[in-house]
């Protein structure tokens, strides 16, 4: 909060205090609404029961296995998409004329929603890791590729000509000029891709039935275990927050040398 006269640390504390009040208010509301009978408890169990269910679920090995499966599909798919997109982006960026040739195809394939591939994934892989990977890789690939292309286009032409004039080989130009320039863009792409990949990993489990959190939610829903459905959704949200935080941390680490991060840390 921009309250004048307060040192930054105290301001951050005030801010965190407000945030806690907000979270507490939400929990209270979700406890009170079903208890007072405003909404049927069968459809909206009180917050305390949902959290108790979550705690009980966290004690079972099945939940951890499902969580592990989700995270494995997410990480593996993201890694494959990232490697492929960086390689493709750099090649498209440095080979003259390739950008113009691929542009229409990239712009055509990129907006295709990856859920369109659900039937194909079901047919080819059935309810397994392969289905998850197909959806995750397709969705994450374009996010990274577009950012790599922006990044490659941002290389300073003068620096590029200088590097050529000094006789740097193609590989050292990529290593010492192109990669540092593109890195902030690449990290943005990774951050966007990580969020999309998590959504698609859960989607594949939910719709196709690949093992993971999504499949657990589907099972809980069809067996009428309402508090478990809520508990698993809360868990999915927490994992989503963790995923975002982890990627942001990585971004800050990798870009510690970059002015945009340096100034932020100094402030």
């Amino acid at each position: 909060m921009s309250r004048p006269g307060l040192p930054p640390k105290a301001a951050a504390l005030v801010r965190a205090g407000h945030g806690l009040v907000g979270l507490g208010g939400l929990l209270l509301l979700l406890e009170a609404v079903p208890r007072l009978g405003l909404v049927d408890e069968r459809f909206l169990p009180p917050a305390s029961r949902v959290l108790a269910t979550l705690a009980a679920e966290l004690g079972t090995p099945e939940l951890w296995a499902a969580l592990g499966a989700t995270l494995r599909g997410w990480a593996l798919g993201l890694a494959i998409a990232f490697a492929a997109a960086v390689a493709a982006g750099v090649v498209i960026g440095i080979v003259p004329g390739l950008r113009a040739m691929t542009n229409s195809t990239v712009e055509f394939l990129r907006p295709i929603p990856s859920v369109a591939l659900v039937p194909l994934a079901t047919l080819l892989f059935g309810p397994s890791l392969g289905s998850t990977l197909l959806l995750v890789v397709y969705a994450a690939f374009w996010q990274v590729l577009i950012q790599v292309l922006y990044g490659v286009a941002a290389v300073d032409p003068v620096a590029h000509d200088t590097a050529r004039a000094y006789g740097l080989s193609a590989w050292s130009r990529v290593r010492h000029l192109l990669w540092p320039t593109a890195l902030p863009y690449v990290m943005t792409g990774l951050r966007l891709a990580a969020a999309v990949a998590f959504i698609l990993a859960v989607t594949a489990e939910l719709v196709i039935g690949s093992p993971g959190l999504g499949a657990e939610i589907q099972v809980a829903q069809s067996s009428g275990a309402v508090p478990a459905v809520y508990a698993l959704i809360v868990l999915a949200g927490l994992v989503g927050i963790a995923v975002n935080a982890a990627v942001r941390l990585l971004e800050r680490r990798v870009l510690a040398w970059h002015p945009s991060v340096r100034s932020e840390a100094a402030a």
Binding site: P113, A116, P119, I233
Partner: protein, 252 residues
């Protein structure tokens, strides 16, 4: 030369498709898929399955947009409200929207209201959070100028707050659109007796491979068409921002 450049890669890809299609059952050749596309979708299905899906998508999307902006503006204007609600909103945004489908099915059945509700519940967060961000970052000098000139109430909201935040709001709307497309397809695949997602899964279950591919193609075209439409709208709304519509910058 330009035409060659533009068409070379697509032609190559279709060529590869054609070459590969002979060897596998799962990939019919382009002509078969094209014929299936015409037969499947230029029929009563267009009215029965495609248009209702698109209608639900647009209804939910519009509702989410209005709701997101209406809630985002007051939150963005008040620093205290923002600090209080931020963790809650971040949590809701971090929930992958598709997991809400089974939950909302439980609450609202499997008919049209469920699907619209699913789309609203998934699309509202990017719009809301971007509106908050846009309103928060409004130019302070402009804000003071408005106060000096006695611009307030409705007029301040329309000419200053919404205008100034519109680049961010449009970013949120763009993110929401791709989420909306995912959600409409999933909600129909999950539990439905009509609609685009349902029909495509039905083809897959009956091993009507060419028809299934034509459905994937249709979904692709839908995504493509909606994002092109969105770009047009964005260009109009943000013409002032991009300097008289002299091309949209590369800001992604």
């Amino acid at each position: 030369m330009r035409a060659v450049r533009l068409l070379a890669l697509p032609a190559l890809l279709v060529g590869v498709w054609w070459a590969v299609s002979g060897s596998t059952f799962y990939l019919p050749d382009p002509v078969t898929v094209g014929r299936a596309f015409a037969e499947t979708w230029f029929s009563a299905r267009l009215l029965d399955d495609v248009l209702p899906s698109v209608g639900r998508l647009l209804a939910g999307y519009a509702l989410a947009g209005v709701l997101g902006v209406a809630l985002g503006v007051p939150i963005g204007l008040s620093a205290r409200l923002r600090a209080t609600l931020e963790p809650v909103l971040e949590f809701f945004r971090a929930i992958p929207p598709p997991v809400l489908v089974p939950l909302i099915m439980l609450l609202a059945g499997i008919e049209t209201p469920m699907k619209v509700l699913v789309i609203v519940s998934g699309c509202v967060w990017p719009v809301l959070l971007n509106t908050v961000e846009g309103v928060r970052a409004l130019d302070e000098v402009l804000s003071d100028t408005c106060r000096m000139y006695g611009v307030r109430g409705q007029s301040r909201l329309r000419r200053f707050v919404l205008r100034g935040a519109s680049p961010q709001i449009m970013t949120g709307l763009r993110q929401a659109l791709s989420i909306g497309i995912i959600l409409i397809v999933i909600s129909e695949m999950f539990a439905s007796s009509s609609g685009l997602g349902f029909t495509i899964v039905l083809f897959q279950r009956q091993f009507q491979i060419a028809e299934m591919w034509s459905g994937i193609l249709l979904l692709g075209l839908l995504g493509l068409g909606l994002s092109a439409l969105f770009r047009q709208v964005e260009r109009r709304v943000l013409a002032w921002y991009h300097g008289g519509g002299a091309g949209i910058g590369s800001a992604g």
